[in-house]
Assembly symmetry: C2
Homo-oligomer: 240 residues x 2
């Protein structure tokens, strides 16, 4: 896959507007720090269409990216093609800043995206000057570790149905809903499967099961939680 984004110059429009409501993990987004806002304001804007590779596994991590709009996935590939999607990145998420070395996973676009690309070195300079920002970075690192550990429990110990139910609740918390409470999943069933350590078929069966038991409404990419407690409860059942 080729990198295929068009850089369109150092944007100057302020960041932190309405695009950021619905940001990640119920925390204030990185952009709250004035110094960081300035940094982002001067950063290169990057646009890319669907299924573009923004960074490759093994690339030196000299830039990080702030997601303005759209959705990305981080992908780790095994030599034989088995794939693990580590996380999905949404508007407001910053990625690639924590690594100190090479990227350990590729970042690919799930939908068309708009990003701001920031040199890591600029981030470090800012962190040294702005203690508030440094603290926020550490907070983000801690959050990522916490999330990674939760994911280990999910992948190591949860059943297929539990994983799917957990995923839906996660997405419901992160993605915006329309008036009727409907949420549109940006990613394919394959992406979901590779995120949950399952196959496409199992994901489908799980979703169908949740729909049939009345926990969710489902229509292609759109879903709505009808009965949150049923989602929690369904969790110990089997699929047959």
């Amino acid at each position: 896959m080729q990198i295929s984004f068009q850089a369109i110059g150092g944007g100057s429009s302020p960041v932190g507007g309405p695009a950021f409501t619905g940001s990640a993990s119920r925390l204030a987004p990185v952009s709250v720090t004035p110094g960081f806002r300035a940094l982002v304001g001067g950063a290169l804007t990057v646009r890319a269409q669907r299924d573009a590779e923004i960074v490759a596994q093994g690339d030196p991590a000299d830039h990080c990216y702030l997601v303005i709009s759209g959705c990305l996935r981080t992908v780790t590939l095994m030599e034989d093609g088995r794939r693990q999607v580590g996380s999905f990145l949404m508007a407001g998420d910053l990625f690639g800043w924590e690594l100190m070395g090479d990227y350990d996973a590729a970042a690919e676009t799930v939908t068309p995206v708009v990003l701001r690309r920031i040199p890591i070195s600029a981030l470090e300079v800012l962190a040294e000057r702005d203690l508030n920002f440094a603290r926020r970075l550490r907070q983000m690192g801690a959050d990522q570790l916490r999330a990674a550990r939760e994911r280990m429990v999910l992948l190591g110990r949860k059943t297929a149905l539990e994983r799917i139910a957990t995923f839906l609740k996660e997405m419901a918390a992160r993605l915006p809903a329309d008036g009727g409470g409907n949420i549109t999943l940006p990613m394919s069933r394959l992406d979901i499967a590779d995120h949950l350590g399952l196959t496409v078929e199992t994901v489908c069966r799980g979703l169908t099961h949740l729909r049939r038991t009345g926990a969710i409404a489902l229509d292609r990419q759109d879903f709505r939680i009808l009965d949150g407690s049923a989602l929690d409860a369904a969790v110990h059942q089997t699929l047959h």
Copy 2:
């Protein structure tokens, strides 16, 4: 389970001696920083026997611990008792410093241990003054994230035999070997199983399989890698 360690006063013996050879993940241990050595030198020494809980899941993370000797596990429990062992901690490892909030997992001793307990606040003060140390902390955070992501691939996409082989190679890299290349695993089969997202029986069968195929020698807690490439190769086979 009750906390059951005996504090034996602020130790003054220097840290960084032979106990640290064979430290974590082929990186220089934290103790290389002079400021940190001083911090550790003044820290409270904590001893605990086997199966003691050093920190509980949900406790405020106001202290972190440097492992001087022995082995610990980090444990996440689900309400119904399913257990996930996130990682094993060996001599030279520092844990509990990255969290900014509550511990997201318990830390329990696998063997009798000797630890140094350091207030997080002291760590932060040091990090602000000693840029080298701050950088090392960030490096450790990055390493943990990397390890967590590798673990996701293992738990999400690898077969039982692959997980077991991977685990053995990890342990061979972290634990000291005696003259004959023999390594003693400090943890039980149950701990291994909960670390790999498997059952005790599957771990046993996997180990037996590797022994029968000549990849390893195995006698209770002791093992030796006879054929490293067989370990890698065995990886795609089934157990029957």
